[in-house]
């Protein structure tokens, strides 16, 4: 069976929505939210690289490189914020993070 562009697109869509489910339905742990967000970015990366391969265009791969670096930077800052919050509140349970009552 020939693997075409559609296979990669369906895989990327499934991965993206799994990450989205993780972000929306996470209840216990804010680290799970960050990891599911990384899954979403991974799905987008697969999408870009699949298009880059099937269209013969290298721009997709360059954009993936930039998405990679920006997501690494964002994870660093996000985890620093989580650690600060934990230092002040001694919990990362999402039920307890309700000071802003959002």
């Amino acid at each position: 069976m020939d693997i075409g562009l559609n296979h990669y697109l369906i895989l990327s869509a499934l991965l993206f929505f799994l990450g989205l489910v993780g972000v929306i339905l996470a209840r216990k742990n804010i680290i799970t939210v960050l990891m599911s967000f990384e899954l979403m970015l991974l799905a987008v990366n697969i999408n870009f690289v699949a298009f880059s391969f099937y269209l013969g265009d290298l721009v997709g791969q360059i954009f993936v490189l930039f998405i990679l670096t920006v997501s690494a930077a964002e994870v660093a800052i996000g985890l620093a914020i989580v650690m600060l919050y934990f230092r002040n509140r001694a919990t990362v349970d999402l039920q307890d993070i309700s000071v802003m009552k959002g």
Binding site: M1, I3, H7, Y8, L11, L14, L15, L18, G19, V21, G22, L25, A26, R27, K28, N29, I31, T32, L34, M35, S36, E38, L39, L42, N45, I46, V49, A50, S52, F53, Y54, L55, G56, D57, L58, V59, Q61, I62, V64, L65, F66, L68, T69, V70, S71, A72, A73, E74, V75, A76, I77, L79, A80, I81, V82, M83, L84, F86, V92, D93
Partner: protein, 292 residues
């Protein structure tokens, strides 16, 4: 063989993604995230993007996932109780899934049949085959109508077969249907536009921004390097700036100075002048220097 590798890597990545969000131990979640990254790196290799596969392993697994592990092990994250976190949400999850499947099936039936009939009708009227976008507005109207009808039909059948407790969930869903239909209509219009604008790869030589050289001519890394340092140098430098800001930000956020730890003050040491460093004292024979 290629298909086997693709299905293997994608099955592993999807399975590990599910485990990331459902594992009870957060350390297990991080481990399965690492597995997802590794299998996606395998998918990248299948797509002839070896440099990106290595970048995924080095940057994502080697830095980001290790950072996650450090933070997970540093914070005192209590393992949840015996029931997994998604059990209270299970009813809503199953209900959403069933509703979505019923909606989708009825929508496909409605829209497909109506669309075929409309195209046949227009074909009969005009006398020749029609372009795909020419009855475009009619198609959009049919899609919207099908959404509304499908929603009404699924709710009708669900009310017949459901028990009592789902009344609240029904009301909540019904509140979301108008906005959902609007969003779906926008998506349908966008999908229509894509089908009309999409060029096949053989037609699109002039719109390629960075045509990839064949693999035997230039390896993937070389080709990417030729692009990054010439056409995309500004973006490259900007990304470097983003990383610098992230580094500074992480340090600024989490640096703690303890008040009781002695540390050197290099500025004070280099600012020392001769007057405060050396003191000449006249010492009597047999007496010590004394004093300070």
């Amino acid at each position: 063989m290629h298909a086997l590798a693709f299905y293997l890597f994608s099955a592993v990545s999807l399975g590990s993604a599910v485990t990331v969000i459902t594992a009870r131990n957060p350390v297990h979640s991080v481990f399965f995230l690492i597995l997802a990254f590794f299998s996606s790196a395998g998918l990248f290799v299948l797509l002839h993007a070896e440099f990106l596969a290595m970048m995924l392993v080095v940057v994502y697994v080697g830095a980001v996932a290790v950072l996650f592990l450090f933070v997970v092990m540093m914070l005192d994250i209590k393992r949840p109780e015996i029931k997994p976190w998604f059990v209270p949400k299970m009813r809503i999850l199953t209900f959403s899934l069933l509703w979505f499947l019923a909606y989708l099936t009825s929508f496909v039936l409605f829209a497909g049949v109506t669309m075929a009939l409309a195209l046949l009708l227009v074909q009969q009227l005009i006398g020749r085959a029609v372009d795909f976008l020419t009855p475009g507005l009619v198609l959009v109207a049919i899609i919207l109508l099908s959404f509304v009808l499908a929603g009404g039909l699924t709710e009708f059948f669900f009310k017949k077969i459901c028990r009592k407790g789902w009344g609240k969930i029904f009301r909540a869903f019904r509140q979301a249907v108008p906005m959902g239909t609007i969003i779906l209509a926008v998506l349908a219009v966008e999908a229509l536009a894509v089908t009309h604008i999409w060029l096949r790869p053989s037609d699109s030589e002039e719109v390629l921004m960075a045509p990839a050289p064949p693999d035997m001519v230039l390896p993937n890394t070389h080709a990417l390097g030729q692009l990054i340092y010439t056409d995309y140098i500004y973006v490259f430098q900007a990304v470097g700036l983003v990383l610098l800001v992230a580094m500074i930000g992480a340090i600024v956020l989490t640096l703690r100075r303890r008040p009781d730890v002695k540390r050197q003050n290099i500025g004070a040491q280099t600012r020392r002048s001769r007057e405060e460093a050396v003191r000449l004292a006249k010492v009597e024979f047999g007496q010590g220097v004394g004093g300070s």
